[in-house]
Amino acid sequence: MRRWAAVLVAALTLAGCGSASGPDSASGGGEHKLVVWDWKSGDPAAAAYLEKAKADFAAKRPGVSVEFVAQPFDQYYTLLGAAIQAGRGPDVMLFNGGGRLRDRVDALVPLDPYVIADRDRLTGWEAFGGNGKTYASPVTLQGHPIYVNRKLYRDAGLDPDRPPATWDEFVDACTTIKDRTGARCLALGNKEGAGIQFFLSALGSGALTGQEYGDWLAGNRDWASPDVKRIFELWTEADRAGLNTEGPNSTAMFNDSFAKFQSGEAAHVIGLMSDVGHWKDFGEFLDPGDIGVLPAPVITPGAAPSLPYDGGIGYAVARWTPDPALAADLVRSLSSKDALAAFHADAGAIAADTSIDVSAAGPVASRVVSGIAGGRPALHVALSSTTLDLMGRLSQQLLSGSVTVDEALTQLAASDRDG
């Protein structure tokens, strides 16, 4: 029996063959049917968007049916990973911009020849590119504005129309707000280690010089730079100084952290500009007139704060689809102007087509959109999934005091170097 077990183990060890992707591939749909996987199509706020997109596609490609399969977001990339390993799955799939897509470009069709006409109309392509090619068309933009509870500013005797411009002014304002209203400065959730991503990207343009920022995005990241180190020092200092809401390591960004902002327990939250955790969500609980948006405070003198944003979500085409041109046409319909306008109107998302009129959404949305022209990609999106995962754990260890900033930066530099 033991001998048989040893032979089996040896055979498996020597064989060591098998492929994650597999040589065989098959389409989820057929020539007259396309299957789309996403996590949006079950959302009522996306219903009008999908109707417009389907209508646009039906006009271009009559006779081709489209089936949307809404997957639970928590399981989405696990399910997608299984489909990619099998070499079978949907023809078109939704992705978050950045590492989620870049890790899987081997399974995708480069869309560059198909989306030439959309190049100038849409923004956020960089987050859906890799190896010099484009793999998805952006639907929304994702970014990290610092939202403000203007009422707390007024209650504390501060002028919300003259928000703090430097980090020191920001801390002073926070101290005043805490003393006079009891509210904390930042609603910060870090249970999954996600808080550091928002913190890094929201404050990064106020800490890094223009050159450092550009180098970071280009992959030449100097983790030993004093300006990079300053962001991670502020991450720990802000918590120890009581700027954050309590228990960030046990508080989830979604929905605990945003709930604390909405309930007036914190004066600021680093939120989003896609369809959740944004001005429209907050407007359900706060008076829309009390919600504002703040440029990143200047941390390093001479730094030029800008809005951090990238492509938020976008649709890509699987390499096993029998007719990539057909699937690419559906992707183009899913980022057509009318469809994106409906998505913005119903979900509040800042769409990838920045020519869409957002004036009806109020001043906060208009201010966010006006920041896009001078905005730059978010710092954390440039990092690999592995480095982001490590950064999430280290951010928790920094808050609990089990690692120093220098140790954390050394580990991050090593992870970033190894890819």
């Binding site: 098998g18 696990t78 390591n249 046990s250 999934s385």
Partner: protein
């Protein structure tokens, strides 16, 4: 009537034919996928997808402090096992000895067993929140707040505590079934001799329930090692700083979040081997006690 030789052969083959469906199901749905998974663990991820990499994935695993931490946490769970078994054992004893309200307690203790881990986790997320009722209660007695889920020294104990709360109902039922086999005259005799509860436990109940205790040890151990994913996912997300990672959570992160299925297969194989070792130890214990009986 068939000839004697054919009848003899049919009788000899009948057991194999009867067992065959079960064997086929086990081989096709358990052993074959297991072999595929083990085989897959010797291939690469990403750019090395599909190529044989030997033991590289295992080298990566045992060089990863996160995976080693997850294995250390398995060791901690083994140390906590006696507590997880003692709690339902003691409570079952109280019910068996008919403490006032024992009928009510039987239902109350069993109730959490019908909750999914996600629901139990969500309930305790609220109770154990930094500004939640558990800390408010501590505050009323003058004790400082505890970051139950955000302190790396406390979080795993908090999650294991919730797991024990959520699952001890099943062990309690098994214990009560074991008590049904206990000879009440032994307890009566001990009481007449003036034995108090600790002596009853030590000299009558524990020896009388040896097999039941061993069975609960086995099932509780398997539960602790393989059924905590839901709670970890909801309560801590593996944090803070990886302090509550267990191998199955690590496997899920590598496969689902970091797109490294071959590395996840290697971790699955290691977890399987751990379970095999634990299982074999437990089987040998049960066999030994069987011989004593």
């Amino acid at each position: 009537m068939p000839p004697a030789g054919r009848r003899l052969r049919a009788e000899r083959l009948a057991p194999y034919a009867l067992v065959a469906p079960a064997v086929l199901v086990v081989v096709a749905l358990r052993l074959y996928p297991l072999a595929l998974g083990v085989n897959f663990s010797f291939t690469g991820d990403g750019e090395r997808d599909g190529t044989a990499v030997g033991l590289d994935n295992y080298a990566t695993l045992f060089d990863d402090p996160l995976f080693l931490g997850a294995l250390r946490n398995v060791g901690l769970l083994v140390l906590l096992l006696p507590v997880a078994v003692a709690i339902p054992g003691l409570l079952a004893t109280f019910i068996y000895l008919r403490v006032p309200g024992h009928r009510l307690f039987r239902g109350v203790y069993f109730f959490p067993a019908v909750l999914s881990p996600v629901i139990a986790g969500a309930i305790f997320n609220l109770l154990l929140a930094f500004d939640g009722p558990a800390n408010a209660l501590l505050g009323t007695v003058g004790l400082g707040p505890v970051d139950w889920l955000g302190d790396p020294d406390v979080a795993l104990f908090a999650v294991v505590g919730v797991h024990v709360w959520a699952t001890f109902g099943m062990a309690l039922v098994v214990f009560l079934a074991g008590f049904a086999t206990l000879d009440p005259s032994l307890l009566d005799a001990a009481r007449i001799d003036g034995a108090a509860l600790p002596r009853l436990l030590r000299h009558v109940i524990v020896p009388g329930l040896t097999r039941t205790i061993q069975f609960v040890f086995v099932t509780t151990m398997i539960g602790l090692l393989t059924s905590m994913f839901g709670l970890l996912y909801v309560m801590t997300g593996g944090g803070p700083g990886g302090a509550t990672y267990l191998p199955e959570y690590y496997i899920w992160i590598q496969q689902g979040q970091l797109d490294r299925p071959a590395l996840a297969s290697a971790a699955s194989t290691v977890l399987f081997l751990v379970m095999v070792v634990v299982g074999l130890l437990q089987i040998s214990l049960l066999r030994r006690s069987g011989r004593v009986d």
